[in-house]
Amino acid sequence: MPLKTIQIIFLGLIIATIVLNGFIQYPRLIQAIDHLKTNQVQRVGQEFKGLRPYLQDVAWAGYVSCLKAAHPATEVAIMAPYQQAQFILSPVLLDFDKADQHRYVILQCPDQAKAKAVQGHLNARVVARSAKDIWLLDRGKE
């Protein structure tokens, strides 16, 4: 087959692909415009914002999640709130591995009973509680 014919076939295929991709993209774009109109934009770590005033001059704080996983560092349910907290409370560094070595500990726990148990284990008092079952605990010592 002459090269010119092959080129034309490819041109047709590519234009068809562009149109097909356009059909895939169009509803997403309309949805994005709707979100902008209704101000449904993304929020990151807003539930931790209430803890900021309590951690003004704190360099390090512990972070404990009640959720358990075989690989916590790759578990979305654990890592998403943890990293969002890091982002929103920065420059406070949140220690996930050795949480009990810091005076302040952020506890993320949807289960009330488990939260009490962790508080007891850390021998800490509740300083603040923000939305979505997030507590700031004070152990009173480093």
Binding site: Q7, F10, I14, L29, R43, T74, Q83, S90, F96
Partner: protein, 433 residues
């Protein structure tokens, strides 16, 4: 307004540096190399000012930018240049329209996620955010206890430049950086094909890349991926140009872009090593460009120091290691089957808009056209080696493989997607002859 001024300063600096390196008439491709040079230099200034003052001092980074801008302006006056004649043709008008379309789509998608995707707020912007707020404690950012990725931080430094001049954090800065590199990537692709006389294919290539569902979605994620994808495409174009007509300015520019790619993220360092090996191996067939090898090394060395410093500072300040590899895992057949499954899923995924199927077909049918142009062959070998080297990294990783593939595989191939589109359309364009 101050954010616009920050980017303007970077662009003007980039423009004068480009005019110093390449005093000949300005081409379309050059216009889209300016953002890479300008923002790259701004990031270098922020990085070195962090090292010198041990914290982010907006006054000094602004002063350093103004000194740099004055210096390159005065020096560029001293270099004999061809005057620029701006004459926009109908073809240029079509390119501008395409870029405007991309700008509109990119702005809508980008403004919908002002904090970007996960790694944007979890890593790239988090680094910028921490350094901006932490004062002299900025080095503590590397003590992020559960993080194992330790990329160079050129992107956070670019964000810091915008925030520094603005005097406050703003989500608009990372969004704008993503858009600038996204548009520059498209501009580079279209202009390089257009300048070779394949305007029709150039326009179709631009529309094809823009139409890929993953392209805009990921380009506006505020990750360093779009920045590196841009640098890899620029390097590919510069290599082909260097092989065709070797000159000192092209070699110097290529060296500079290789350095900037290495400074973007770890994948960039791997890409630069592969490019370096392929350039050396090409000497057997094409010795012409080596006459300008010194310029290439000078360009690369100008950025290399910051890459080494960034990596060194991170290793010194962090306790955990980078990508650990288990040699035993490399021979685990199940892991290779899982990688194969993910590869198949990606080839079939509608997000890629038939990119893989079409490019395989084009590259197979037009292999003779690719072989005829040595530079194109080298770029294609780069794409192959790059993917294979990461497949081995995946097979050997000590991290949970399924998770790693699900979060990073598509990003790895995103980096080479614009380059692959460029090679594919170059092959189609060459068939015209």
């Amino acid at each position: 307004m101050s954010i616009v001024i920050a980017f303007l300063i970077s662009m003007v600096t980039g423009y004068f540096i480009l005019r110093i390196i390449r005093p000949s008439a300005l081409r379309g491709v050059d216009v889209f190399l300016i953002p890479g040079i300008g923002l790259g230099v701004s990031a270098q200034i922020v990085f070195y000012s962090l090292l010198i003052f041990n914290q982010l001092v907006p006054f000094w980074i602004i002063a350093a930018h103004l000194i740099c801008l004055t210096g390159v302006f005065v020096y560029s006056r001293a270099v004999r240049q061809q005057t620029i004649e701006i004459r926009l043709s109908k073809q240029d008008g079509c390119v501008v329209l395409l870029l405007l379309l991309a700008l509109v789509i990119g702005s809508i998608v980008g403004l919908n996620k002002p904090y970007g995707d996960w790694d944007a707020w979890g890593f790239w912007n988090y680094h910028a955010n921490f350094i901006f707020r932490a004062g002299t404690r900025w080095l503590d950012v590397f003590q992020f206890s559960t993080w194992w990725a330790h990329h160079p931080w050129m992107l956070p430094c670019m964000v810091l430049w915008g925030w520094g001049l603005n005097g406050a954090e703003s989500v608009l800065v990372p969004i704008a950086i993503s858009l600038i590199f996204c548009l520059s990537c498209l501009g580079l692709l279209v202009c390089s094909l257009k300048e070779r006389g394949w305007f029709g294919w150039a326009l179709v290539a631009g529309l094809f890349l823009l139409s890929l569902p993953i392209f805009m979605a990921h380009a506006t994620s505020q990750y360093a991926d779009i920045v590196l994808a841009y640098f890899i495409l620029a390097i590919s174009i510069l290599i082909v140009e260097l092989f065709k007509n070797p000159s000192t300015d092209k070699a110097l520019m290529l060296g500079l872009f290789l350095g900037l790619a290495a400074c973007t993220k770890d994948n960039g360092i791997v890409a630069v090593i592969i490019f370096g090996c392929l350039l050396l191996s090409s000497l057997r067939r094409n010795k012409a460009w080596i006459k300008h090898g010194r310029a290439l090394i000078y360009g690369f060395m100008s950025i290399l120091a910051s890459v080494l410093l960034m990596k060194g500072i991170e290793s010194f300040n962090t306790g955990n290691h980078g990508y650990d590899v288990s040699w035993a895992s490399l021979f685990d057949w199940h892991r290779w089957v899982l990688i194969g499954k993910f590869t198949w899923q990606m080839v079939m995924d509608s997000s890629w808009g038939l990119l893989w199927s079409l490019s395989f077909l084009v590259l197979f049918i037009f292999r003779r056209q690719i072989k005829e142009e040595e530079g194109l062959g080298l770029i294609l070998r780069f794409v192959g080696i790059y993917i294979i080297s990461y497949l081995f990294m995946y097979a050997g990783t000590v991290l949970e493989l399924k998770w790693l593939l699900s979060v990073s595989y598509y990003r790895l191939v995103f980096l080479i997607a614009p380059t692959l589109v460029w090679v594919m359309f170059s092959a189609l364009g060459r068939a015209n002859k």
